[in-house]
């Protein structure tokens, strides 16, 4: 006798629960718990990592990200304004820049700045400049599109009101449009900050002094001395300390702005 649709759905749900329980039991019985514990939760390694993982690595990750974000935001704003320019060559330059740096791996930019530029131009940046430029150049390409969308989302009447009060085009942009645009794009910009936080890990390819280590480099160094997954787990959790609150902040800001969606593309 054929089962009713509702009955079938019910049995299907039961079978999914059963599968989950079976999988959990298999792992519980056959896994080598001792090895897992020493691999992920090597308390000695954990102890050795503190406090430097916080006072050096986490701190540096925050500094590098902030530098890159600040530079990227400024450059992204310039690119966004170029993209909205009435002068076609400005639009072309901005488009080429954005498409180029969104399309290549961020790692390539880091390698280019850290190793290519010094060889090609006999220019030696310090670590902070390198990170700021590399993260900023990549971040700007993404942020430019977000900022452009934000500027375009400001109602045209706002500019007309500003112009009718005697403000010049530039003054209206700075005083009226850009502040409103940034309110609109705060949620996507926060997401951009999360991506940059993670991209700051790419600095690990550059030669760093100990007090310049950021989280990924720090984790990798610790790993080479105490071969277990513990260092990776610890620095991973440190990233979450930054990215989870930012994620909540972004969603909160989005709700607060009344779910006014800005399309970025």
């Amino acid at each position: 006798m054929a089962l009713s649709k509702r009955k079938r759905a019910e049995y299907f749900r039961y079978s999914q629960y059963t599968l989950l329980v079976v999988a959990a039991l298999v792992i519980a019985f056959f896994a080598d718990w001792e090895q897992i514990r020493t691999a992920f939760f090597n308390f000695k390694t954990m102890g050795d990592m503190f406090p430097n993982v916080i006072t050096i690595a986490l701190k540096n990750t925050l500094i590098y990200t902030a530098l890159g974000f600040a530079f990227g935001l400024a450059l992204g704003l310039v690119l966004a304004l170029m993209k909205l320019s009435s002068i076609a060559p400005y639009r072309w330059i901005a488009t080429i820049y954005i498409e180029f740096f969104r399309g290549i791996p961020a790692l390539l930019v880091f390698i280019g700045l850290a190793f290519g530029v010094p060889l090609a131009f006999q220019l030696q940046f310090d670590i902070y400049s390198t990170v700021m430029l590399a993260l900023g150049i990549v971040g700007a390409a993404y942020m430019a599109e977000t900022i452009r969308a934000g500027i375009q989302a400001v109602p045209k009447g706002q500019v007309e009101a500003a112009r009718s009060l005697g403000m010049s085009q530039g003054r209206a942009m700075i005083t009226i449009v850009i502040p409103q645009a940034f309110r609109i794009i705060l949620p996507p910009l926060t997401n951009e900050l999360i991506l940059l936080t993670k991209d700051s890990s790419l600095i690990y390819i550059i030669g760093l002094a100990r007090d310049q280590y950021e989280l990924t480099k720090f984790g990798r160094e610790t790993l080479s001395r105490s071969p277990s997954l513990t260092p990776i787990l610890v620095v991973g959790l440190c990233y979450l300390i930054i990215t989870l609150p930012l994620g909540y902040l972004s969603r909160y800001l989005e709700r607060r702005s009344g779910g006014k969606k800005v399309s970025v593309l």
């Binding site: 009447g157 009101a161 500003a162 112009r163 009718s164 009060l165 005697g166 409103q180």
Partner: protein, 255 residues
């Protein structure tokens, strides 16, 4: 005293291949209230937006208080500080509170000091009866209140002439009176006003001159009592009949 405030001659404006204004002459004397009426699409808003060059005319001459705005060398930003404009959709700066809405252009454009700008702002807020809303954000105000703030914002620049672009069209009916009241008070104080409106009662009672526009031309103009009370042109008669007694007419002919 009939000094001329706004003088428009031979104004033409087109958007692409669409001719919106087909050669208009308008004169507004200082201290006069001129109401522009007409069906939608007749070009009356475009005419108003040409007066402060929010729309660039294709041809013609616009002189406001002796300054020819259509002269290529004129400082249009400076000229606009003397021409207040009020929009249908209010256009208050949504990221600034009411007081900052009234002071931002005073500070950035007229370079007034903070104290002076605030005093002028508060005085104008009082004129529109919203002194207690100085610290509110625009989104917290009703449409009628927002429009009164927008009027106070324009007044804070000490304009010589005020342009109103359908100032009550976006308002709920019970809020229209507040805004019209403020406008009537302004007119009584001697402000030169150019008003695009559908409020025939207001035009009839307040306007020194009424202009009826249709199809990009001025069809009829004159004292309110004549244009609204006793229109001579068939198109004016037809329009007014529809506006003043909308329930007793069939659908209009397709254009």
């Amino acid at each position: 005293m009939s000094e001329i405030s706004v003088e428009i001659t031979g104004l033409k404006k087109s958007f692409g291949s669409l001719d919106v204004l087909k050669g208009l002459d308008v004169t507004v004397n200082r201290g006069d209230v001129v109401c522009i009426i007409g069906p939608s699409g007749s070009g009356k808003s475009t005419l108003l937006r040409c007066v402060n060059l929010l729309e660039e005319p294709n041809d013609g001459k616009i002189v406001v208080n002796g300054v020819e705005l259509t002269d290529q060398d004129v400082d249009i930003d400076l000229a606009r500080t003397k021409i207040g404009m009020v929009f249908q959709s209010f256009n208050l700066f949504s990221h600034l509170n009411v007081l900052a809405n009234l002071t931002v252009a005073q500070r950035k454009v007229l370079k007034r000091g903070e104290k002076e700008a605030q005093e002028i702002a508060l005085r104008n807020l009082e004129r529109v009866g919203l002194l207690e809303k100085a610290n509110s954000m625009p989104a917290q105000l009703s449409g009628g209140q927002q429009q009164r703030v927008a009027i106070a914002r324009a007044l804070s620049m000490d304009p010589d002439v005020m342009l109103f672009d359908e100032p009550t069209s976006a308002l709920d009916p019970e809020l229209v009176g507040d805004v019209l009241g403020v406008m009537r008070q302004l007119a009584d104080e001697g402000m030169t006003m150019l008003v695009v409106t559908h409020e025939m009662q207001f035009a009839r009672e307040v306007a020194d001159k009424v202009i009826f526009m249709d199809g990009g031309y001025i069809v009829e103009e004159g004292p309110a009592a004549e244009v609204i009370g006793n229109p001579q042109e068939p198109r004016t008669q037809e329009f007014l009949a529809r506006v003043l007694d909308p329930t007793h007419h069939g659908p209009s002919d397709p254009v």
